[in-house]
């Protein structure tokens, strides 16, 4: 093959890839665009027939109302709950996963029990948990919900990290041990860094799950720790669907996660060159 046709083939392939990527982009992003754009429309534009694809002007009145009424605080609440519970879940969960992989602690039964925790439909246990929290005085408190979210995310973290830890060659840990590291040091100095990719991929989704959690927040919060998911449902009324507020609140609630994801996905995609070790 001449150089020319090779380059042309590659360019054609690239063009195809961009084409497909753009189609995908439209499919996945258009609905979000639609939602966001509602937050900038006037009510007449929102309820206009035929539908308005692009508002005449961008008005920020809907956002202003959210901040003025103090509703925007719910985004901060979500941030605290999701952020802290993710960090804790990642640490405890990865440790647990390591034990499962390297030591087969508890054997298959323990592993199965762990994942069974994630099976439980929240609806089935929400009422007993509500009563438990009432008894402990944890309703409508940050701590209570953080503990709950952490516990609910643990199974996911443990199972994902198992897969990623299995990919880490045993030799690396062995050499560290030989060098005199304690097992704790091996965990922190070798395992966590080597599992970075998987760590971030898992952390991103753990964060997202906690962020979008709805039913526990609905039942266990009243006024202090309202999360953005519950706040949004306040705008679905019997006599009034505040679409503008729904859209604006969703936009506010999406931006932090979007930032988190874009910051971390760089780590997601960069592969660890395992080849160097295995070779």
């Amino acid at each position: 093959m001449t150089n020319f046709s090779l380059a042309a083939t590659r360019r054609w392939k690239l063009a195809c890839r961009y084409g497909l990527a753009s189609l995908l982009l439209v499919f996945f992003v258009f609905p979000i665009y639609w939602l966001f754009i509602i937050s900038f429309k006037t009510p007449d534009e929102i309820f206009h027939f035929p539908p308005v694809w692009y508002p005449k002007s961008f008005q920020f009145a809907n956002y202003a109302v959210l901040f003025k009424d103090g509703d925007a605080v719910s985004v901060l609440n979500s941030l605290i709950l999701a952020g802290v519970s993710t960090v804790i879940a990642m640490i405890f969960g990865t440790m647990c996963a390591y034990s499962l992989v390297r030591f087969k602690t508890g054997g298959e039964d323990f592993a199965v029990w762990v994942i069974s925790q994630r099976l439980m439909p929240p609806i089935a246990i929400i009422f007993p948990i509500f009563l438990l929290y009432v008894y402990l005085g944890w309703v409508d408190s940050y701590g209570g919900l953080i503990i709950l979210y952490t516990a609910f995310n643990l199974p996911y973290v443990i199972w994902m990290m198992r897969g990623y830890i299995e990919d880490i060659p045993l030799e690396l840990e062995e050499s560290a041990l030989v060098d005199g590291c304690s097992r704790w040091a091996v965990l922190w100095k070798v395992v966590f860094p080597m599992a970075r990719t998987g760590l971030f991929a898992t952390a991103v989704f753990t964060f997202v799950f906690a962020w979008n959690e709805f039913i526990f927040a609905l039942v266990l919060t009243r006024t202090e720790v309202v999360t953005y998911t519950v706040q949004v449902t306040h705008y679905f009324g019997g006599q009034s669907n505040f679409w503008a507020k729904i859209a604006a609140m969703s936009a506010l609630g999406t931006v932090p996660v979007f930032i988190t994801v874009s910051l971390l996905q760089r780590f997601l995609v960069r592969g660890i060159s395992m080849g160097a070790v295995k070779g």
Partner: protein
């Protein structure tokens, strides 16, 4: 001597009468509530309120005002409508006293009262002298919404009722009137029966086609249409149950007729009307695209442009039909007092007196009048004095017609079915509407629904439900007289 004595006694008597009267005048229920509430200064009471527009009232107006007058803080727990019943029951079962005062829909009353979740209010009404002002609530609400098992469990606080809104300009336009007469043979007028409605609506849709205007539209989503079904079914003479056997009779010919008529009407309504909720219907009417619609009182205020300048209402499409809207009773003449709210006290509250004083104050003549006039309110007039208030009448040019229609509606209205586990029966109806829009046969739908109703009644206990149903049916607003 006798004369002087008599004069003196008369004078003293008059003086006493005067002071008593002036004392009575001076001490309105609102004032009394404020006075008694002084001893609870610094306390906080929690009240459950419907989230969204409704709760702007306690958050921005009544809560802060109460705190200023009494030093009592008000914490508003906003709950989405669909969650309110659930949250109230949950709190009751948990028994922590987290909620003091509540907003309760009258149709939930039997369930909540029988479960013991609500505090009977008779003793408080007497203790704080509320009997007078309580009596002055419009009879339809006072007699139908406040009591269960003969005891007062809630203070009616929102005059919800279905009103027909129509475009005066269309109904009075000579060209349209001529075209209508030519098409149907009678004069164009606001329909008084559902048969007339079907005829008027379809004729208007044809005549107004070039302008892209439809004769009518409703919010046809199941939750709203469920109320409409309750209204039309009873207006046409239907009864929900056989009072003796408690067998469901919604699948009678009347029921089938109502469902069939509703489906046929959709044909002259905008396409997709089966998906319409409160706001879609409002938007279409406000944009001038429909000549008739039926909905709760807020439509009337917003169509006239009242309050829609307020930032909180900036989600309401701007009205293009201000000044062109007429008000009437829906066809059949007996509108549904759909949904509505009472103020109640949770039986597990630890601050019952304090909470009661707050709701008495809210519900009193003075304060309720101010509240129903708030631009952003969803609370509709519910006291006799509201219908004739000079301030209200001055809010927009047609306000007097509006208030008159509301008053007429209150005199002829019928209220929601409320028995044990009403929501289960309502859920069956909602699903029946869903099936109707999906294209199933009305008779089959209603036969299935009646069967489900019978199943529910059996599970609750026929005798138990019979007693509660009898209690409901005995009220003035149960069936049209």
């Amino acid at each position: 001597m006798n004369l002087i004595k008599r004069l003196g006694l008369t004078a003293v008597g008059a003086l006493i009468a005067a002071t008593t009267v002036s004392a009575a005048w001076a001490e309105s229920a609102a004032d009394r509530a404020v006075k008694e509430a002084q001893k609870y200064k610094g306390q906080t009471i929690t009240i459950v309120w419907e989230a969204g527009l409704q709760s702007l009232d306690p958050l921005n107006f009544s809560g802060p005002l109460w705190e200023k007058l009494t030093g009592m803080k008000v914490k508003v727990v906003e709950v989405q409508t669909a969650e309110m019943f659930t949250k109230i029951m949950q709190e009751y079962r948990a028994g922590t006293g987290a909620y003091d005062a509540l907003n309760v829909m009258p149709s939930w009353m039997p369930d909540l009262a029988n479960a013991g979740a609500l505090e009977p209010l008779d003793a408080y009404v007497d203790k704080y002298g509320y009997k007078d002002e309580f009596q002055k609530i419009a009879p339809i609400y006072r007699d139908n919404w406040a009591k269960a098992n003969g005891k007062i469990y809630g203070l009616p606080d929102d005059g919800d009722v279905f009103i027909m809104y129509f475009r005066k300009d269309i109904f009075e336009d000579p060209k349209i009137k001529d075209a209508f007469k030519a098409k149907t043979g009678h004069d164009l007028s606001v329909p008084k029966t559902w048969k007339e409605f079907g005829e008027t609506g379809s004729a208007l849709t044809e005549i107004l086609k070039p302008q892209n205007v439809y004769g009518a539209a409703f919010f046809r989503q199941p939750p709203y249409t469920m109320f409409m079904f309750q209204e039309r079914f009873r207006n046409e003479g239907g009864k929900f149950f056989d009072a003796e056997t408690m067998k469901a009779t919604i699948n009678s010919d009347i029921g089938v007729k109502v469902l069939t008529d509703m489906r046929n009407e959709n044909k002259f309504m905008p396409p997709g009307v089966e998906q319409w909720g409160f706001v879609e219907n409002l938007a279409a009417f406000m944009a001038g695209q429909t000549a008739m619609t039926i909905s709760w009182p807020p439509y009337g205020r917003w169509a006239a442009g009242y309050g829609t300048d307020d930032k909180a209402l900036n989600w309401v499409p701007k009205s293009t039909v201000g000044g062109k809207v007429g008000y009437a009773l829906p066809p059949g003449g007996h509108p549904e007092l759909a949904a509505g709210f009472d103020l109640s006290i949770a039986s597990t509250s630890k601050n019952k007196d304090a909470a009661y004083l707050f709701i008495q104050w809210l519900n009193s003549e003075d304060i309720s009048l101010q509240r129903v006039k708030l631009p952003t309110t969803l609370r509709d007039p519910f006291r006799d004095s509201h219908y004739t208030d000079a301030g209200y009448l001055a809010l927009w040019p047609d306000a007097k017609d509006y208030l008159k229609t509301l008053k007429d509606a209150s005199l002829a209205g019928i209220f929601d079915l409320s028995v044990l586990q009403t929501d289960k029966y309502e859920e069956v109806l909602r699903q029946a509407i869903g099936k109707l829009w999906a294209g199933e046969d009305p008779k089959a739908i209603l036969d299935a629904a009646a069967g489900e109703w019978d199943g529910i009644t059996k599970k609750i206990g026929v005798d138990k439900q019979k007693a509660v149903y009898a209690d409901w049916a005995s009220k003035s607003g149960a069936y049209p007289k």
